[in-house]
């Protein structure tokens, strides 16, 4: 028990760092930011696992030790408990007056056997397990015990904790999840595969090919807001295909009511606006891109880039000139501030404006390095390969407006579409974890409310006729109400004949 105590403490203390330092699984951006702000300290902390405390070796060591100790503790108790359940209550101690509760002998008129039966009946009525014994000297004893549910509850609770731990482990091994941005429109459908997620992680026992087939497209995303700009509701209307080339079925999901599939559920995590931009190049060829802009504040001031690497291809030579690639950096304000502020003043599109800065030159997208789709390659701008070609101030566009670049090519801000950030998750062990937790709670309540106690009656024959009834009680756990119960039981066991006990 002391070991368990120490380990419980360690476990609580070990959980603290995870709320102090940003955690990779919770907020990777803040971890990156921490590394930037504390370049010396961060790598050292990282080797200690400070940025992923809950999957670190030392955290695991603590709870594995704790649960080992739990098994070591519970297994013998379970054995003892089963034995105790099967054995009859022990006989009365010789000196009953030494027990915490004792009632001195009281005279009765009936014979010891009958008095014993009466006492046993009263105890059974109170759901005591009872045993009547006749002794060689003519005396009778009644032993009774109650409160096994307390220990049962305790064992149930600890076993349930083990179930929860195993459930969490299995969920991790066999579960997977992925996040991505899903823009409105038939042309933006996505299918469940690792490559189509912006970010995904599979459990150690899951192969990419294990992911179940389904495709999803977002027909309509609707958000409503309070006057303050605080969100009121979100709802996504989608179409779902669960068989290759099968039919598309309309579905809906919103915050707190995910779209539940047979393997995996789809949750909305956030939303925002995607820009629809059409560029018409020197040869009159146009290309349309739908690019999600990421919101940077609660009013959905959003930032992003649109990159056009495959443009200005000379139809005669069919060659692309990388120096003629185009990139646009933009800030989108769904409701522009009439006073000229740099941020949106309302999250809905009451007065949408897009501010664009155009760059021409080598975007540097072919080098093979992983690239953010939300910012231009800063190195290319720094080394002059990518040059700003719009003026000092960004070009202001409302939906439908077109900006003309210095070479006469045009970019049209066609409009916006909404997008939803969705998370797809599958955790096969979830029902076991829930079941374990519920059983654990029931066990805990039994354990904390029950009291184990024993009662004994010794009935000795009196000279002549009648008998003498002595009683004793032993609470086996801290139980302040036992005195009252003892008095009541003794009264009941002696029967109505004697009047008040």
């Amino acid at each position: 028990m002391r070991t368990a105590l120490v380990l419980l403490f360690l476990w609580a203390v070990a959980a603290i760092p995870g709320s102090v330092w940003p955690q990779r699984p919770v907020s990777p951006e803040r971890v990156t930011q921490y590394f930037r702000e504390h370049p010396d300290l961060a790598p050292k902390l990282d080797t200690l696992g400070a940025f992923d405390v809950y999957s670190s070796a030392w955290f695991a060591a603590i709870y594995l030790l704790l649960f080992t100790s739990l098994v070591g503790c519970v297994a013998p108790r379970l054995r003892d408990h089963i034995r105790a359940l099967r054995t009859v209550p022990p006989d009365a101690p010789r000196r009953m007056d030494r027990l915490p509760q004792h009632a001195a002998g009281e005279e009765r008129t009936d014979a010891p056997a009958e008095a014993a039966q009466l006492a046993a009946k009263a105890l059974r009525g109170e759901r005591f397990r009872t045993k009547i014994r006749e002794h060689a000297d003519g005396s009778w004893t009644v032993s009774a015990e109650k409160g096994f549910l307390k220990e049962t509850g305790n064992l149930l609770f600890h076993a349930a904790m083990l179930t929860v731990l195993l459930g969490v482990g299995f969920g991790y091994w066999y579960g997977w999840h992925g996040n991505r941005i899903l823009v409105e429109g038939q042309d933006q459908a996505f299918c469940n595969s690792v490559t189509q997620y912006d970010e995904s992680s599979l459990g150690p026992r899951v192969q990419p090919s294990d992911l179940p087939f389904f495709c999803l497209r977002l027909d309509d995303f609707a958000a409503t807001y309070q006057d303050s700009g605080q969100a009121k509701s979100f709802a996504a209307k989608v179409e779902l295909q669960t068989k290759q080339d099968g039919p598309w079925a309309p579905k809906e999901f919103s915050v707190n009511s995910p779209l539940r599939l047979s393997q995996g559920n789809i949750y909305p995590l956030g939303h925002g606006y995607a820009m629809v931009l059409r560029y018409t190049d020197r040869y009159g060829v146009s290309q349309t891109k739908v690019v999600p802009f990421l919101p940077r504040d609660g009013m959905f001031t959003s930032e992003g880039v649109a990159q056009f690497p495959d443009i200005n291809i000379d139809p005669k030579t069919n060659k692309r000139d990388v120096k003629l690639q185009l990139g646009f950096e933009g800030v989108f304000l769904p409701t522009v501030d009439p006073n000229g502020g740099a941020s949106s003043i309302f999250p809905a599109e009451n007065d949408p404006v897009l501010f664009l800065t155009a760059y021409r030159g080598d975007l540097g997208v072919e080098v093979g390095l992983p690239q953010s789709v939300y910012s231009l390659n800063q190195d290319q701008i720094d080394n002059g390969a990518l040059k700003k070609i719009s003026g000092d101030r960004p070009q202001r566009l409302t939906p439908g407006q077109t900006m003309t670049l210095d070479d006469g090519t045009k970019l049209e801000f066609v409009g916006t579409r909404e997008f939803a950030t969705i998370s797809v998750r599958y955790d096969p062990a979830q029902p076991y974890v829930l079941g374990g937790a519920v059983v654990g709670l029931l066990g805990l309540m039994l354990s904390l409310s029950g009291h184990r106690r024993r009662m004994w009656f010794r009935i000795t024959p009196r000279e002549g006729s009648g008998s003498l009834v002595e009683a004793g009680g032993l609470p086996r756990s801290d139980y302040p109400g036992f005195t009252d119960e003892f008095g009541r039981l003794v009264g009941a066991a002696r029967g109505p004949e004697e009047g008040t006990p």
Partner: protein
């Protein structure tokens, strides 16, 4: 309505404060205080004035032992009356706040703490009704409530607003109400826990502050038992609210039932610390005072979750920052 709620809140804090003053006055001038006792029975009692008094048990109403109505009893009765009044005002504050917002009044940190305080107050009054002899702890209970609500009004106040969509769920009601109830009970559980430690110290002959206060609180064993009872009741409720209803809701809302968000971390820490308390109490080789210290540690972790996490850390729980999804 919102305005009314704010005014009621102010009056509520004042009422708790006033109740506290009367409890304090009872300490100073009541029959059991040094001064009071000296006045009543000069010679003999003065000698033993500092000694533990065995006649103070939690079962016997404190005042029954005193033959005539003294000033202390009057002050104490007023204090209890004021606590009831403060509770009524407190209830009014919560109800009007709920009406003003047109929803359950647990949508942000201010409202949450307000309601936790209300539960704490109700539990305290329940305990007081059941065991009137414990009245002397009222000073600490009202002190705790005054500080809790005062801090709430000063640090956490937020104007009435609608719920963010994530909170718009029936799990919101189940999860938050059970945690509020459990927090209230566990926080009030800290009062007899602290008193038990003070009383034990006093019984061992310590007379420095705060042990001197031990002279007027009920017997150590009774305090210890009350501590356990409150925790044994609050702990499963907390387990349900934080470790079952919370994850159920988180699963529906965020897609994972547990994600080590700072609030989840601290709920977990509280759970483990209180489990350690129950363990310690059940381990024969661990002293009751040690176990009770662990309960107080649990109290600190609860406070950390109420105030600290909302103020110091950012997480998904949107009580503190109501923006976003």
């Amino acid at each position: 309505m919102a305005e009314l709620s704010n005014q009621l809140m102010g009056i509520t804090v004042l009422a708790y404060l006033l109740a506290m003053v009367f409890y304090a006055a009872e300490y100073a001038f009541g029959a059991r205080s040094h001064i009071g006792r000296a006045a009543a029975r000069p010679a003999r009692q003065l000698v033993g004035a500092g000694a533990p008094t065995d006649d103070i048990s939690d079962e016997s109403p404190a005042v029954a032992a005193e033959p005539k109505r003294d000033r202390g009893e009057l002050l104490g009765t007023i204090a209890v009356g004021l606590t009831w009044l403060a509770f009524a005002l407190h209830l009014g504050t919560v109800v009007t706040r709920g009406i003003a917002a047109d929803r359950m009044p647990w949508g942000n940190m201010y409202e949450y703490i307000l309601t936790v305080g209300l539960v704490g107050s109700a539990v305290w009054l329940g305990v007081l009704t059941r065991w009137p002899g414990i009245r002397h702890l009222g000073l600490f209970a009202t002190l705790a409530l005054t500080v809790l609500l005062g801090a709430d009004g000063l640090i956490a106040y937020a104007p009435v607003g609608p719920l963010v969509p994530a909170l718009n769920s029936y799990w919101f009601i189940i999860h938050v109400s059970s945690i509020i109830l459990a927090s209230g009970i566990l926080l009030i559980g800290g009062v007899p826990a602290a008193m038990f430690l003070i009383r034990t110290g006093y019984d061992q002959g310590k007379r420095r502050f705060p042990y001197a206060l031990g002279a007027k609180v009920p017997a150590a064993a009774a305090l210890e038992r009350l501590t356990f009872r409150l925790h044994a009741f609050g702990f499963p409720l907390f387990t349900f609210g934080a470790l079952i209803a919370g994850p159920l809701w988180a699963e529906a809302s965020w897609g994972r039932y547990w994600g080590w968000d700072p609030k989840e971390v601290w709920a977990f820490i509280s759970f483990v610390v209180y489990a350690a308390y129950l363990h310690a109490r059940a381990t024969p080789s661990v002293k009751r005072t040690t176990a009770t210290w662990i309960a107080l540690l649990g109290f600190v972790t609860m406070l950390m979750n109420l105030f600290g996490v909302n103020l110091f850390f950012t997480g998904l729980h949107s009580y503190a920052n109501a923006g976003g999804m």
